[in-house]
Amino acid sequence: GRFGEFGGKFVPETIMQPLIEIETAFQNIKEDASFREEYLHLLQEYSGRPTALTYADQMTAYLGGAKIYLKREDLNHTGAHKINNAIGQALLAKRMGKTKIIAETGAGQHGVATATVAAKFGMSCRIFMGEEDIERQALNVFRMKLLGAEVVPVTSGNGTLKDATNEAFRYWVQHCNDHFYIIGSVVGPHPYPFIVREFQKIIGEEAKQQFLEKEGKLPDAVVACVGGGSNAIGIFDSFLSEDVQLVGAEAAGKGIDTPFHAATIGKGTKGVIHGSMTYMIQDQFGQIIEPYSISAGLDYPGIGPEHAYLHSTGRVTYHSVTDDEAIAALKLLTRKEGILPAIESAHALSKAFEMAKGMSNDQTILICLSGRGDKDVHTIMKVMEEEVKVEDEAFKSSAR
């Protein structure tokens, strides 16, 4: 249950047995053709897969370098790749005879995806969400409730994703006999990083095939954003053994030399978070530090253990992208392609655009557009209002 020295199962004794049961069930379904059929059928009939692979002709022309392709996970039902995993895990829960679902959520994307699947499967659903996040994401909270989920406010810690995850674990420890915990990213104790990878690798499988059909060759580079890192693992997996450059973009927030970032690989150190050995943002005594990113989905102090491994082997290179760079990339893609990306995905875009400029016209880049930006419009509005304010003030002071 490891990726080199990373991963593992660092959890209270109480949930060792439930994890073993999940692992057994997971091994069974992996070899069960009927499971895969049901999973793929739902992805297709319910979530609308395969998602498109869009050639970004305008962006390509604008940057003048490599050809840019976008894997459109934003076109999934509920607007991001999160549903792939939620469908898979809910099916796994169903196979295990569990009818009660719990999940953690930060901005609410994984919560909405989980509540959605729970509704579709007729399962009860309890979503743990930090109090602070509940206030910031009132619309998503309402959506989860409309979907029939109970949203449990988490007041411990700072009331954010990390704390919601802790609380979901605590609840699960107490109710593991009849509850299934759907973890939203390639994080957590074994076998979760493997499970989530299994249910996200469809992204790369589709993209690889679509890319070969369109270009007759593999992309030169694949770029994805990384918080926990499930969309990145999903798209990377099919390319790991190919001669393709793989690049992860993590959140540099206000800059990795400030205290306000979520650059786990860039500035983190090895440790155990949420049951898994990986890189994480912590102080010298092992206390986890609250991360920062404008993007709620990247605002997580750890990273999936497989990413830690892929970093350690050098197979994937990780770079960090600031809030400002991500917003600029978001605006550019919207303007040039009519596609409003999630701020998360915009981190990948920013890095990829920078790379594309330095590449030749016959080279290609595949970007995982992990989700749509509708959810972020408020945030972008606020940022742009502030920009205007700053400009105004600069103008005023220069005018004096």
């Binding site: 660092f10 004794e13 060792m16 912590q282 092992g286 986890i288």
Partner: protein, 266 residues
């Protein structure tokens, strides 16, 4: 590690958090617990993300972290306790991550220099613990293992490697006060006792002397955490003020005695 108890007595293993409400008060609280008949003391290292703990101990962690407590200072606190007359064994209770951040040699040197006798890591299950358990053995630190009702066939393996005592998790869940135990806890403890040659202590949720008595009918003793930490929280202000500290410590001691086997039998 020599657990302090008369043969006829049951084990009483209290838990307190290092630095809660203040480092110097933690030393005094340890002394009170020793007076109240503690067989050993679990000293908790406060952690930012204590996912095996309920709200009471989470709050204690937060208070202690505000006082800049950390794993190194917590270990040094055990040395201070020893210097201040605490003779019962002290078990460092810490999540795995703070341990990981220290150089292993430094960590064990610190433990030995400060006469910390035991180590308990609540998020390090048997399958992940081989290295740390072996190092503990090498440095003569007793590594405490937990078994839970869900441990099932893994229970044997865990108990085989266990030292000091077996920490039985009374029920599913995190630490915290409970009103009632699932009746399945009794056959579970009996089963552990059958397999184990070590004393068996039950923890998680024990909050009244009635519960202690119930548990002690099947177990060799109890671990009491949240109930005591709750008391500390109630007495926080009085414990912090030097003028009222003595009285509060006395009150705490009297409260602790209600869980203590030695006193109960009297």
């Amino acid at each position: 590690m020599k657990l302090s108890s008369h043969p006829q007595d049951k084990l009483f293993i209290p838990f307190i958090t290092a630095g809660d409400p203040l480092p110097e008060v933690t030393i005094e609280l340890a002394k009170s617990l020793q007076r109240a008949g503690a067989s050993a003391i679990e000293l908790g290292v406060p952690y930012s993300d204590p996912l095996a703990d309920g709200p009471v101990i989470q709050r204690a962690s937060k208070r202690a972290l505000k006082n800049d407590m950390n794993i190194v200072k917590a270990i040094e606190l055990t040395g201070e306790m020893k210097k201040n007359g605490v003779t019962v064994p002290i078990i460092l209770f810490t999540y795995y991550n703070p341990v990981l951040q220290l150089n292993p040699d430094y960590f064990f040197t610190l433990l030995r220099e400060n006469k910390t006798e035991g180590l308990l890591v609540p998020d390090l299950p048997f399958e992940e613990s081989a290295y740390l358990q072996q190092e503990c053995k090498k440095h003569q630190i007793t590594y405490i293992s937990l078994v839970a009702p869900t441990s099932e066939h893994r229970m044997k393996k865990i108990i085989e490697k266990a030292e000091g005592f077996i920490y039985c998790v009374s029920s599913l869940g995190v630490t915290g006060v409970r009103n009632q135990f699932d009746p399945s806890v009794y056959p579970f403890i009996r089963k552990v006792k059958e397999i184990s040659s070590l004393p068996v202590a039950v923890g998680f949720g024990i909050s009244s002397s009635k519960q202690v008595k119930e548990m002690n009918e099947v177990s060799d003793g109890v671990v009491v955490g949240s109930a005591l930490v709750n008391k500390i929280e109630q007495l926080e202000d009085e414990l912090i003020q030097p003028g009222t500290r003595e009285k509060a410590l006395k009150e705490f001691e009297e409260y602790a005695k209600t869980f203590s086997g030695s006193y109960m039998l009297k």
